[in-house]
Symmetry: D2
Subunit: 395 residues, 4 copies
């Protein structure tokens, strides 16, 4: 039997029917005016989701990783210094990319499970009197650890230090799912992809540039062509791309942003928080702990759950797939084997979440972990019931 | 948000991705040989699912109700006597149809929750020395009450009475989900639809005729054109239909039968039984009872669950839809307001079933019924775990 | 290679992308209020397409043939007399159906290629002083011969005769493609299907009943259950069906009527006329003739083209499919082998029509018919050019 | 009305139904073994289409342009010298990319309409005794001019010069449509995309590396991360990607290569040649000329057609879209306004091609160009008829 179970990976998400149909387009001429009528509303929609009025949005046939490369290669030059924290696999990879492109990365290593250390950043930036640091890199939501960092605090740290560096934020697994405020937080480059909060198939890097980031273009000497936003901007002005655009995905993006904005971003965030809370209630009922060190770090898009010492967390993921046809996320890098992850972003209902929680219980019981069947489910049900009633009252 | 929750109605079922794509066809010429290459394998596939070697299969753009009309109008004449039991809404409707077509129906009323009374049938048939009864009508699975009847016993009763009547079986919600043996049980006409065990959208009546039923064509005087199997048979012989065939659905039927036969019918039945058992364990854990009177009557495609006296079961269905976006079935006819139904047939995994059970718990708790959250889920999980492990061992 | 050629059969038509997606729905609960929000707008839309304010519309999981059976079985009784013309395969079949249901059909045979003889009807109706004739049957567009009849003239004939019979019109291949006015023409029952002017897959019988036809229900004694509009009306009132509705097709019907009404029915008819004229110009350029006897009989949804005496027209259809993967229609009944048909209704552009005309030329040349390559194409191109320019000027 | 006309742009092509459905996948876990079962057969399929036994294939979520960047950044270092011809917009852009990445490009300018000058290359390479030239860039099919170059001749020139440079070939609009032999021609890097011969939506860069190109990795100093084939190779070995893979497109690629290989590559090429010849016969009948200078340069995937001096070719493209809803390609760069292009690659039948030719005739007549309606169509029909008959005889 073809399984119709939802996935519980932290992206790509389950894709709403209507978005699958929007992406699945017959071929149109991407050099005709028809394409402009898809492209420009999509870009405008993304701006609203990013909460930027002044920024410019670029969309590449690529992924979040390509978005990072777009960020650094359009603003920096070989030898430029950047400041970054490593607190999970994705922040690690971004640092690695910078180094491979000849940047000089000042790395602040954090325990995996912690967030971006704004106070430590403030010290370093304050000490950087010569303003050699050109950019500060922050991962809003570490997908590997389920840790949400406080980007507003990073901005405050930069301001307190009176430092002019650019602020680049990896919002791949937060944007469209958790509160993100590009202009208010002074984010210079925001990076995400199509397959997370936008609930689309993978294939798009989505990037916002502030006016200050745009200005950095003038001096940026890292080589680039595919990811050059000057070519892209020129293309957009003529209703096109510098090469063949992924028309279907952009059509999907247009509809996705409409859906998010019609629902209301605050409602979208509240929906994610509600679903995530249910998962966290279940984890607590199991007597287990999250990788994220403290509640204020808890991510609303993914939970990384620590298994008992000595137990291989990958077994949970493997057995869930084999025995029940359900996909959870494995631990990556430093926390490989120590955590398994439940993705709870994008198109996911309370009802679907309960099936994921119930599956995790069966899997853990099968593997001999001391988890009472139904215990996490009951805790999550109680949360979903109460919050559903509250929603109904509000409506 | 568009909900992506599965449905838990007793048909139409959740449609597998691959079958949706098979049905969603561009237009082809239904009078060209191409159509024959879809039609004939579909008919052959249905024969195997019905377990008939000698029967002929007809497929109409219609529903199960149209299948019943096909059965009676092609074999009987006004004034003909038929024997039937009323033990639920669907058997009731079939009786009503017979009466509206001028047949003389001898109705054996049963408590809703009971099955077809083979022993009572034997008495009546034995008493019918003149063989005035031309057909015996039996509903294999009463979708309204979740009651499975013993068709083999009905056949034995007819044989014991030495009665030559035709045996017509409503297998709408059993065929493709529960054991059905057209030839072995001496079923003369078997009726089903596309939207149950075949996991397709509604729109097809699917009917098998035994050679004896085909012979009854000669004398049948009920008027018919749309449902006339003579025209249909002539059409099939020329790779066509007497009118425009629903090509996409027939393409889906072809693939559906392939899927069922590749999985193996016994495995399909075992899969349904396993999912159904989980639901029944949950019901027991809730301290509730099924409408079906005894375990041997329990249906593997739908469970009708009795709510406490004085409580309106329709509230369960209404609240599930409004608060959680989940569809259960209401009670119909005599058991309206007394039961709600969980459909568990077709494309449904243990994981999906758990989300339905968990939802039912939240709904009942919301409505003040004394159901402990997680209790039914835990009972079902235990069953699914054990049976999953057994499956793995077997494989 | 999978062919992506359009079809040129007189229905089912090429289905617009957007309608295929509307039909291809996941399962919803057809007993929930959600279904009513699809059903009622669809019924209202059909009423507007039929141009009826007072009529009631019924939609069955069936085909046009089922629509005919709905018409007669809900209004007539065995032995009732009806008046009809046989001027093609579809009018012939309707007559045959009436006879099989025990009606007494007064048949006026017409040469195939002629229309409904309103003057002859007037004579017969005038002579029927006792008003034994209960219904007059007229085929608006004979799909087999490409002949459009004058329904307004039939109504005038009935009025001139002062005859109270009901007027039943087969509009299967005209409604949604050619001018049809249910109320203005005093049509009592209008019958069509989903797969013609509505551009949907086959699977729906669509029927409009006038108040007078509804009144005839009271006395109608033909047996019916599946096609009983009383059950259907009761179902609609409760947002449902008396059995499982074909939800996806009804969702498609809802969108289809919106599309037709947004385009404007007169524009839809003009579009069909324009495409049809191009085909007719091509036929004239080939030196060939239509089956339809005179220009006022020319159908805008299908052209039946006479081949030279002694030549088997079926060869055109067979060779087109084998050599070029293009579907045309064969001749049926009296004109089998004498005509081949080009369907030009529904979703078909001038550009697509030209490919059909060009294919017909290649096919006829291959088969040795004296047709100059490009001759018909050029004639059609000239017509399409001129009319496209006129359209642009108008817009 | 939604138009259902085919597109006649030189990619993206019309997408076969079956490939659209393969791409339109629900989300699966791209880190599970399931993905490997899609990925590896797709890569193997591409190898066969490239006709390479020894090469390695990489697939990126990108476009052909990203494929070029993959080629140079994984093998070359800043300051490296490369040899290239500029004979159209796409070769121009590749040269531009090289320059932006700090390579030293020796450009041989050719008249647009000419191919890669193998003899001139031989002179230059022979003169480069120090082997400073690290790579020779050749565009197999210049999409802007419809010119096919002789890659085997380029290889012979390199061999005659005894030069060890790498040979990079842009096969974006040739691979899968026209004869391409990676191993036999000694191609070191072959670049293409999903949206041309593979008939998929845009979104994939598809690149083959010879062992010699793989060896060049060791010394390549151009910065790269997203396009780094080392990360990609490591990912593939673990059934994954270094970031989120475009699973649906890769699923489509797997099926696309199966389709091409089942049809047989030589049959695929012959099919393209047949369709292209028909278009060229039409152009000749119109008394017009191709941009490509000589028959041996004629591309089988796109024809660039010169319009009379003083006439703006863009009008043809604009008017075709507005008046008839048909997309042709405009001229680019040096030939902007001088040519319009008819794409004839991928999923396109003779019947569809005729509709494009017929449309071009209407458009040109509308714009006052001296083209006789039907003239090009007749010439193409004659070619298609003869070649269809020949095909049938062969089969």
């Amino acid at each position: 039997m073809t399984s119709q179970n939802p996935v519980f990976i932290p992206g790509p998400t389950n894709i709403p029917e209507i978005l699958r149909k929007a992406v699945d387009m017959p071929t149109i001429d991407h050099r005709s005016p028809v394409f402009g009528k898809i492209l420009h509303p999509a870009l405008e929609g993304v701006k609203k989701v990013l909460k930027t009025a002044e920024g410019q949005v670029f969309v590449f046939p690529s992924t979040g990783t390509g978005g990072w490369e777009t960020a650094i290669s359009n603003t920096l030059s070989p030898g430029d210094k950047v400041l970054a924290t490593r607190n999970g696999m994705f922040s690690h990879r971004w640092i690695d990319m910078c180094q491979r492109h000849g940047l000089d990365v000042e790395v602040v290593d954090q325990k995996w499970g912690e967030g971006v250390p704004a106070d430590r950043f403030e010290e370093i930036l304050t000490a950087d009197k010569a303003h050699q640091i050109k950019a500060v890199l922050a991962t809003h939501n570490e997908t590997a650890t389920g840790v949400k960092s406080d980007i507003a605090a990073v901005r405050r740290a930069m301001d307190a230090a009176g430092h002019p560096a650019l602020l680049f934020v990896d919002g791949v697994s937060s944007i469209g799912s958790m509160d993100f405020r590009m202009d208010e937080w002074g984010v210079d480059i925001a990076v995400t992809g199509s397959q997370k909060g936008f609930m689309l198939p993978p294939g798009l890097a989505i990037i916002g540039f502030s006016p200050k980031a745009m200005a950095a273009l003038e001096t940026a000497k890292l080589p680039r062509t595919f990811f050059d936003i000057r070519d892209m901007a020129k293309g957009y002005a003529a209703n096109g791309f510098p090469y063949t655009p992924p028309v279907g995905l952009i059509n999907g993006l247009n509809l996705s942003t409409q859906m998010l904005l019609e629902e209301g971003l605050e409602n979208v965030f509240a929906r994610h928080h509600r679903i995530a809370e249910g998962v966290r209630k279940a984890v607590a009922a199991w007597g287990m702990e999250l990788c994220a060190a403290r509640p204020e770090l808890y991510s609303d898009s993914v939970s990384a759950i620590r298994v008992p010492e000595g137990f291989d967390a990958n077994k949970v993921v493997g057995h869930a797939l084999e025995a029940y046809g359900v996909a959870f996320g494995t631990g990556l890098g430093d926390v490989a084997g120590k955590v398994f992850r439940i993705g709870h972003l994008g198109s996911l209902t309370d009802v679907m979440a309960l099936s994921g929680i119930a599956t995790a219980e069966m899997v853990m019981a099968d593997l001999g972990l001391p988890v009472a069947l139904g215990s996490g489910v009951a805790a999550a049900q109680e949360h979903y019931r109460q919050s559903a009633a509250a929603l109904e009252k509000a409506a």
